[in-house]
Symmetry: C2
Subunit: 241 residues, 2 copies
Amino acid sequence: MEAIPLLTLRRLPQYLEVLQQFKEEGLTMVSATRIAELTGVHMTQVRRDLAYTKVVGTPKVGHNVRDLIRAIEQTLNWNDLSSCFLVGAGHLGTAILGYSGLEKRGIRILAAFDNDPELVGTTVNKIKIHPLEKLGNLLSRMHVHIGILTVPGAEAQQVCDVMVQNGILAIWNFSSAILNVPEGVIVENIDMSASLAVLSRRVAERLENNGGNNGEPKTIKNKKINDRGKNEYTELSSTQL
Amino acid sequence: MEAIPLLTLRRLPQYLEVLQQFKEEGLTMVSATRIAELTGVHMTQVRRDLAYTKVVGTPKVGHNVRDLIRAIEQTLNWNDLSSCFLVGAGHLGTAILGYSGLEKRGIRILAAFDNDPELVGTTVNKIKIHPLEKLGNLLSRMHVHIGILTVPGAEAQQVCDVMVQNGILAIWNFSSAILNVPEGVIVENIDMSASLAVLSRRVAERLENNGGNNGEPKTIKNKKINDRGKNEYTELSSTQL
DNA sequence: TAGATTGTTAATCGATTAACAATC
DNA sequence: TAGATTGTTAATCGATTAACAATC
């Protein structure tokens, strides 16, 4: 199975988002050009990214919306559900447990774990919260190989170690800890600090460069600057998460 | 004020994390080499990144830990607090309202907003939740220029528009919506779908390439693969988020 | 001093964009 | 058909890594 470039993988869900929109609007065909306009990704980039999904379009016409959605979902393995455990049922963990979008993205949380006796035994979104001590045992018995880590940073490595010892293959890490795992274990970080760093600095740069004019920045209608696509002309947004 | 490259900004908080560790351990000096080892970032990369903070180290000795922490925090503008509003006080919003790490990162949430009458009037972590209708008015009156968006994707663009109309400068977007904003408005996305896409695909690639051997992957001790730094040899993790 | 480490210039690498032939 | 769009090869761009002189 071919390794798809990191940045391509990150863009695919964006295409999926606008494609869902098109589907809802009843469109059957769409061009890479149109997807490019709505996501702010360069037209050529979109074509190249879509090529990784093995879909073939028809010149002058474009791609079939339904086929394209299916192809992207297949590429991301979002068609069938992977079982996973969530550790850390605080506010963030609860938010994730309650998030209906996960199942659309191939993730089914089978059980949650926490070391707070108040939480153990309760249920969030039909998912039971177990004591943390049971994590290792259940992981190996149930052959779960994806873990969602929503514990405080100070406890993250510890929980991570238990996961690794019990055969976990991938960890979706929401803590700020830089996890130390053996080679081959996949770690994907939701790095809020990194994101905030970019935001903070960009704000500071702008305020300083505008000479303290902290009111309206100079703007041009409908042009967007962000880290997804630098300059973007978009017309719509959409759905959940 | 110089524009620091995106990927450098994302790495700076990682350096900060290991530096805090060093400080707690009582170390006064640290080399870029050591930081590189613990974060998995290439040694030369670390040196280059640190150069953006304008710190100067001393050959053979390295950098002063306290000075380096201060320099990075200054670079990210994490020293003084920026006021901001949070919109969407569901589980995710509540998790963010309760997160103490924000103030260390230059963010103070002054008020929250939601359209659920059940939530309006309540308080989370001493932050009052106001009705959504008051957002525009308060934004412009209080000269707040950072907004945290934790509403469902379907409502995100709408709220975003209100923010923009009332002079917002930057939006920290936790929804899956691709926000359409005028040029000059900074959007920083916490893109869970993008992250999950990478995780899902990498897992699928590994399972397929191992020929269905979904038990233990081949591993080498203490070597780490993730998107922060490809190959990382690390010894510790740390703190919160 | 000798050697580790800094700061920076040059080389490499990977990802993005431009260009264009193929085609429905 | 003519022209929009695809798929792909070549050129460009930016970020990473290698190399090395300066130095405490």
